[in-house]
Symmetry: C2
Subunit: 371 residues, 2 copies
């Protein structure tokens, strides 16, 4: 085996340019980069030949408390999430996450195997999840952002979703923001997506009546059979969403888990019940519009005394341990989880776009084969 | 003096027709009605000649617990409130208050003197406030909805505003919905109006930094001098409200007390600080539009983790006793209150319209002279 000493080839997905309008595959590019060696102060341990044909660093390890520790990982699964689109637009005022930079690799949550570690909490072979690059190998210079995989008996890929960001999003959004009560009526949009399918099942566990909307009959069927929603409908077949909502919620909606925005929100507002809650988690219908749609029915927020509250999962990391009851639900079969996995970085740009065309069935992610 | 035995003339303002577009005086009419005598079971006491030339009922009093008690009042002050416009539109789905009915008298909160009472809690001469008609005399058949005037040493008219609905709206909305903390930055729209002027002063009492917007330089001056706002601006002179808000809130807005809606809300959303709160109290810019404006910037609710919550004062009547600390503030001069009083029912339709043209300076109300 040849030891690479200066650089290693690294297949990666970069942003080609800031995006306007609908995201297309042309906005991204899959390139083979020469990843430079980790800097000498990254604290990477000397690799053995068993560590794959990757990289070496001959610098002595810095002391563990030097704050310079880095971790080199092989990316196993990367997550496709709707919010990535907004990071592809240049924001004059910084948003809650940094914009992607044209020419640089995309980043998002993933599941990784540690190849080499200069951080005392991690060692080669550890399975971790956290923010990484859309590439084969990533040097992570803030390893404290990584989490260990606590339930390796469940599919590793679950840590891109139901046991990771999507799961915690659903859990925190539903319980902390919606504050559901047994018997309440819950509407979930993009209900078969990564977050929606979990919200619906948590609502059922709570004793709520749950109806979901999705973009195909196949997904509607899944909602009713696999995920146990009380009912579901294909919004593409509903000429008038207001009429559809009145049909599925004759008494109105207590809780709307908002993943869509725009005209869906406009149709939901008049159908909310008094003192209803809207957890604003995402607005996927708006992400590819250069100018967002107007929402006209906000006056109902007053007349119906609604609470509409936005939230970001990043504010709820502190409840991850509590959230891990999810692993128990999965093992007991109380929560089902459906993934839509595509293989290889070359397929990653198209996989991301599937979110915005409603083509994914279940949590969209990409597996990066181990060469 | 002639005793009227069958009916009494009663000057009143009626809704002529359901209103579309901008409210005009033609939509209302001031008429002299023949108010029929109270029904025999209304329990009205025999009047003495001292009770003015009004009405008599010869029926014996029903027992106090018969539930049939009514109260005849002379209306002294009636309140003009923005929400009245929405009651002039026909709602297919009932709103939180009943629509007005063409041909019938307008109703709203007012201050009244009891002329005759069949209810054990009230007697002739009592000063009360509550919902009444836009007319000289009103027979109130649910006297339990009336409240006694507890602080007759303050101007009676204050019970149409700072000690009535507007005051309780400001108090509940600011403390219960906004949940302010000392040092936070508060923006109040229609800041010199009935509610806004109180919100601003409560915010100052709480130790917040408060900026208000209003529709004339005269009002802006009042906000800064009489009401103690830290700053204020004339929105009509601001070509770009976003720019204005960035000037007055370089660090952003923690609390927005929303009285306006539409494009103001759109400009506020990007200027909110993380975890900001929007108390949706009214949306006066929208009430005269047949189709409400679209609000485009709702995605900031997510990225900034905002809570937007609508409220109606009716849900907070239970805290009226606590709210009455307001009377103390007024007596001590800690809260100033400005009223815009017009005289006579003939002027009432125009007075109401002044709210929507931003012509009122302070709380708009109508005094009904005692003939």
């Amino acid at each position: 085996m040849v030891m690479v000493t200066a650089a290693v080839t690294n297949r990666r997905v970069i942003l080609k340019r800031y995006v306007t309008g609908m995201l297309s595959e042309d906005d991204m590019e899959v390139v083979t980069a020469e990843t430079p060696l980790p800097p000498a102060d990254a604290g990477l341990a000397m690799l053995s030949e068993d560590d794959m044909e990757v990289v070496t660093a001959e610098a002595p390890l810095p002391p563990a408390d030097a704050g310079l520790a880095a971790v080199l990982v092989k990316n196993l699964y990367i997550s496709c999430d709707p919010y990535m689109r907004s990071r592809m637009t240049r924001h004059e005022v910084p948003s809650y996450v940094p914009d992607y930079v044209p020419g640089e690799v995309l980043t998002n949550y993933g599941v990784m195997k540690v190849i080499s570690s200069g951080h005392p909490d991690f060692k080669a072979g550890d399975l971790v999840w956290g923010v990484t690059g859309w590439e084969e190998y990533t040097l992570i210079d803030n390893p404290e952002s990584l989490s260990k995989i606590n339930h390796p008996d469940l599919p590793l890929s679950y840590y891109t979703g139901v046991l990771g960001i999507a799961g915690l999003t659903a859990y925190a959004g539903f319980f902390e923001v919606c504050k559901p009560k047994k018997g309440e009526h819950v509407f979930v949009s993009t209900a078969s997506g990564a977050v929606g399918q979990i919200v619906g099942q948590l609502a059922k566990i709570t004793g709520c009546h749950v109806v979901g909307s999705a973009g195909s009959d196949e997904k509607v069927n899944l909602l009713k059979t696999k995920f146990g929603f009380d009912d579901a409908f294909n919004y593409k077949k509903e000429p008038d969403l207001d009429v559809a909502l009145k049909r599925y919620f004759p008494k109105g909606i207590d809780i709307y888990f908002e993943n869509v925005g725009g005209s869906t929100l406009d149709a939901v507002l008049p159908n909310m019940r008094l003192f209803g809650r809207i957890a604003a988690c995402g607005m996927i219908s708006q992400y590819n519009l250069d100018s967002p749609d107007g929402v006209h029915n906000l006056f109902y927020i007053i007349t119906k005394r609604l609470r509409m509250e936005g939230f970001l999962v990043f504010d709820y990391f502190g409840m991850y341990r509590q959230f891990e009851e999810m692993a128990g639900y999965l093992k007991e079969g109380k929560v089902e989880y459906l993934q839509d996995i595509v293989e290889g970085l070359d397929a990653a740009p198209a996989a991301l776009i599937r979110l915005y065309t409603s083509s994914n069935v279940g949590k969209q992610l990409v597996t990066i084969p181990r060469d």
